[in-house]
Each structure stands twice: as structure tokens, then as C-alpha cells.
Symmetry: C2
Subunit: 354 residues, 2 copies
């Protein structure tokens, strides 16, 4: 397989699964963590390695290491493997997703931004999501008619934070996630609830259903549930461990134990909370976003800019949502007809903030 | 269809479904509630009616009303309907179950005692359970390998009762069930946890799996869950309403809303408790019972005798479990090879208590 983002949390877990099931790793693509990448190269002996830039490339113990965006796209095209794991963070994942489509390869997608930004141009027929909520939904599908899809949220690091002080929460506080150990960007997205907003849109594209809701389940034990027309609801439950969705995304079916089972005797209780738009102001555009998914490029681009500003202490935590909501108002009537327009809007929004 | 036990809680709900889906009711069989039966006859215009005895028969507004056990068996044989709903209470349900098998008709079974007493002689290939837990398990089945089946218990009316006083709990206290409105026998079985023990055995016969456990979920919102080999657990969740399993038992698939969906935003929390053998002493024989299901006739017969004694104030609540445990010890090595032996053991135990 081809692993894009091998040194991130999803990449590392993908290699754990590759090790366990003795799967061949043809291509490794990573960003800046050259130390870990060098270890991965030693263990998995890939045929191709690509990193972010020349400076990093010089530190890699691999004789024909490539670097840069177009080298990633070339590696997808030139590798023999039929499966691409796209675990690149943020909008940088979109072009690799489109290239994977173009090559007719199977795509195991952790880069949800690809679908958020350009869902209507992505071929979902050969796509399996690496996201515990969507894996859960997929696992629960049967042939019965569905009324509504539901995904759960942890509520992020600030779910119990005093509302009055939320606006000025620090990066350290935002990164202190209660249930999942993940990369920085998704942990911030979890605190703002942008991550769940993205997952709602991801579910829309993956399952072709518009009736989608979310609720906070504080332990991240229930990942998703489906309301069937008859009145039954089924839930997918597992300890929060990405190896489970990754193993299924790679192998489709798994007949051995990947994670231990939830022990309800020890669980004691599950707590549910409504997603409160005072704590998570971004949630107020959920229905509007489902109706007009073309807003995705606006929301994602603004979010990535805002997150960088927040990390660089140029803005407060509360400003991330404010900036997004303001741009959603500005681009309210957006209509996207091509991939090119997406890249234009991205550029336009970036220029706005320069 | 043929409805055995039409005036009980399951029978009434079955007729609710028959009304809603305009299903034909050919035969009504009821016990002593002649007033309700007369109303049902007026509304559903059955072709055959059978009651428990001659005295009741005289109060029924139906010209050719029959009565007695053999009339029930004849009605099953002589009715044209291909589907029998067996909602008779206790061991009296066994012969109708066997007769339904014999006639090759489909069986929607609420009488779990049939399986507890004689599971190995019952053909489960044309059987659908009317039990929310087993319906839930059936609903959750897919083709993935299963590690364990789990059903939930409410814990019954005495789940929060002081343990020291449990032995002398009164019938009124026992009948005050927190979640379900059901008949008297099953409500008592719920307080002793005998009902859940029976459902474990029912699951064994229905699904052919021996790894079965139960846990208390206090709201009866989650009815059952399946641990799949990979580490995923799926759960069946619905408001406690028997119309849902009944509708599926009759029609196999249902494409309209039978009950409203659980609203997790309003659920707030779910509480789980281990089944404590101090509060529920019967639970200590769960694994032994799964290993030797021939004990079923001993456990069920003793339970029915004990329940009658408890209702008649001849014994205390705590004695129900004690009597059963004592007889399980006595008949420890029981081996049943025929239906006739079952009836012999039943008689033997009844004689013991005379």
C-alpha cells in the first residue's frame, strides 16, 4: 500500500496494522518527522519515500528520496499498489485524493477535509473512511430503510470549561483531549466542534443521506448510531482505538481481534449531552452546511487559516468559530461547479486574510 | 394468524399490530379474561375461539367456542393460517409450540418457557422470538464472526431494594416494575432474574452460541448487544415497546415506523450494573445451565410451583430462588432424551411439592 502521512497518529497506527497482518508497504510519504520516518524505512523497507521539502529529504536514510507536492502525486501514480491511505492533514490532502481517484486506486481516507472541500468531485465508490464514526456507520449498515444517521462527539477538551472564559482558552488547554490521542489540528477541531461538522458532511457524501445529527457521548465509547425507519436504533461501540477502522479500511473484513471488547460490567455509565451552540457556536450552521455543501471550501479554508493564527497567538480560541461564521455569511450563496473554482476560492480567502 | 394468549400483554399488542397492518386473525385463544376476549371477537371476527374451560366458554359471545388444552392443539392443526403467535404463560405453552412444529407452521414465540424446558426438541428454523432482547440480537446479526451475545436486564422491581430485606419483599413490591408493563409471572421472574436466565437459554437455542452474558441497563433502552470477533460491539436500542418485536415476528421486515426513536439528546445517561449474585442468587447457575440445558425442565417447573406458592403467601420472595437452586443441586446430573421424559420430570417435581 501507499501511506500518505506515515508519521502522524493515523500513519503510525496504519503501520501497526501492516506489521500485525504482514502487509506490504510500497510507499511512505511523510512531512517533517524525519527521525520517525527513518525508523519506519528501516522496518518496512518501502520502495518509494517522499517528504515535504529538500531540507528534510537530506536527513532521510533512503537513496532515492523525493520531496514536494508533485512528488507525492507522482508516487501515487507510479506505485503499483492498489490502495492509498491518505492521512495527510488538512487541505493538502485534497490533491492526493483526486489523484488516487484518477488512477482508479482504492482510497482509505483519514483526510476528511478532501470530502469537506470537494465531496461532490470525489468518487466515493472506491473509498473507505478511516474515521471511527463513519466506520461505525458502515459497520451498522444493513438493507433496512434508514431514517437518520447519528455520530457522537466527545465534546473536546473544553466541554466542561467555563463558558464565560471559553473565548480565551489557551492552546495547551485546547490540546488536552479527554478520550483520543490525535494530531494538533484535529484536536483543535474537536474543541470547536468543527471536526464533528466536517464528519456530518463526510457522512452525507459517504452514505448519500441528508438527515444527520450528532450528540455528545462523553466517553467516546459509542461512535455512531443509525435510526432505522421501524423505530430501532443500532449503535457501534468500541474502545477508542483507530486500529479498528484502519484494519477494516485496508482489509474490508477482519476475522481476528483488533481491540478488546467494551466490558459493560465495568462501564458503569454513559453520559449524553446535547451540542450546545453557546459552547460550540459553529454548530448553528450544521443544517445550512448539509443543504449547501459547497460551503465546505469556505469553512475549511477559513478554519485552517484561523487555526494557524490561534497557534501563533494572533487570535483567541473563540475567534476561530467567529471567523468561520463570518465567512459563511459572506459566501452564503456560493455555488461551486468545478475543482478549479475550489482552488480559486481557497486563494481568494487566503488573500483576504493577508 | 392464530393468537394463543390474546388477552395478555403480548396478545393485546399483537392485535394492535394486526389492526395497524390490517392482518387477518383466524383464531383467538385466551384464558379467563372473557370481557376483553368478547371485545376482541367483535372487532377481529375470528373463525375460531378457544378458552381455558367450560365456565368461561359460556360467557363468550361466539357460537362455536371451544375450551381446554386439546381444543387449543386442535385449533392449531385445523386453522388454515401458517403463523402461530404463542403468548401463553409458562409450561402450558410447550404443547402448542410442539404442535405448531408438527404442523410445519411458522411460530412467533413469546412463550420462552417452551425453549427453556424443551429447547432441544423445538425446531427453531421456523421460529421468531417475541422478546425484545432476542429480536435485538436478530436485528444485529450480520455475517461477521461473533464472540459473544449479550442481553440486558432491567434488574426488576427490587433492584434498589435493601438486600437485607429482599427475602421478605411483598408481591406488590415485586410487581412494581420500573420499565415494562407485563404480566404477573414475567414480572416476578424479572425480580428474581429467572427471566434473564431463561432468556440466556433462549438465546442459546435460537442462535446456537454458548458464550452469552447479561448486564443490567436500568432504563431498558439498550436491549441487547453483540461482541464481534474484531472488537466491535453493536447494540439494539429502542423504547421498551413490544409492538416492535411483534411486528417483525409477524412480518419479518417492517418499512414503517412502529415506535418513535430514542432521542439521545434527551436521554442524558445510561447506567450499567453487574448482575450481583447476592441480590440475584439464581444468577450463580447461569454457566452451569448453559452447559446443561436439560436442567431447564427442573428450573422452570420448580419456578412455576414456587411462584404460585409466593402468590398464595405460602413462601417468601427469597424462597423462590432457594427452591430452584436446591432442585438444581438435586437434579444436577439430569440427562433428557425425549419429550416424554420432560413430562415425567415435571410430574415428579410436582409430586415432590405436594
Amino acid at each position: 500500500m501507499i501511506i500518505l502521512g506515515s508519521t502522524g497518529s493515523i500513519g503510525v497506527n496504519t503501520l501497526n496494522i501492516a506489521r500485525e497482518f504482514e502487509l506490504e508497504v510500497e510507499t511512505l510519504v511523510a512531512g517533517n518527522n524525519y527521525k520517525l520516518l527513518n525508523k519506519q524505512i528501516k522496518e518496512f523497507k518501502p520502495k518509494n519515500v517522499v517528504v515535504s521539502n529538500k531540507n528534510i529529504a537530506q536527513k532521510i536514510d533512503f537513496k532515492n528520496v523525493k520531496y514536494g507536492e508533485s512528488a507525492i502525486l507522482d508516487a501515487i501514480e507510479e506505485s503499483k499498489s492498489d490502495l492509498v491511505i491518505n492521512a495527510i492533514v488538512g487541505e493538502a490532502g485534497l490533491k492526493p485524493t483526486l489523484k488516487t481517484n484518477e488512477c482508479g486506486k482504492k482510497l482509505a481516507l483519514a483526510n476528511k477535509e478532501s470530502l469537506v472541500i470537494a465531496g461532490k468531485f470525489v468518487d466515493t465508490s472506491k473509498l473507505t473512511p478511516i474515521d471511527s464514526e463513519h466506520f461505525g456507520l458502515w459497520y451498522l449498515l444493513n438493507n433496512r430503510p434508514i431514517k437518520r444517521l447519528n455520530i457522537t462527539a466527545s465534546g473536546g477538551a473544553l466541554r466542561d470549561y467555563p463558558i464565560k472564559k471559553l473565548h480565551t482558552a489557551t492552546l495547551d488547554e485546547v490540546l488536552n483531549h479527554p478520550n483520543w490521542s490525535m494530531g494538533m489540528k484535529i484536536t483543535i477541531d474537536s474543541a470547536t466542534m468543527v471536526n464533528k461538522l466536517f464528519e456530518v458532511i463526510e457522512a452525507k457524501w459517504l452514505f448519500g443521506i441528508d438527515n444527520i445529527d450528532a450528540v455528545i457521548e462523553t466517553s467516546s465509547t459509542i461512535h455512531s448510531f443509525i435510526d432505522f425507519v421501524d423505530g430501532s436504533t443500532t449503535a457501534h461501540i468500541a474502545y477508542p482505538d483507530m486500529r479498528l477502522p484502519i484494519a477494516f479500511a485496508i482489509m474490508q473484513e477482519v476475522k481476528k481481534e483488533i481491540v478488546t471488547h467494551i466490558d459493560f460490567n465495568k462501564l458503569s455509565q454513559l453520559e449524553f449531552r446535547e451540542i450546545d451552540t453557546q459552547r460550540y457556536p459553529i454548530w448553528q450552521i450544521k443544517d445550512e452546511f448539509i443543504k449547501n455543501p459547497d460551503l465546505g471550501v469556505v469553512i475549511n479554508t477559513t478554519n485552517e487559516i484561523a487555526i494557524n493564527k490561534f497557534i501563533n497567538k494572533e487570535i483567541n480560541f473563540g475567534d476561530i468559530s467567529k471567523m468561520i461564521l463570518k465567512n459563511v455569511e459572506k459566501y452564503n450563496n456560493i455555488k461551486i461547479d468545478s475543482i478549479e473554482e475550489i482552488f480559486e476560492i481557497q486563494q481568494q480567502i487566503k488573500n483576504d486574510f493577508k
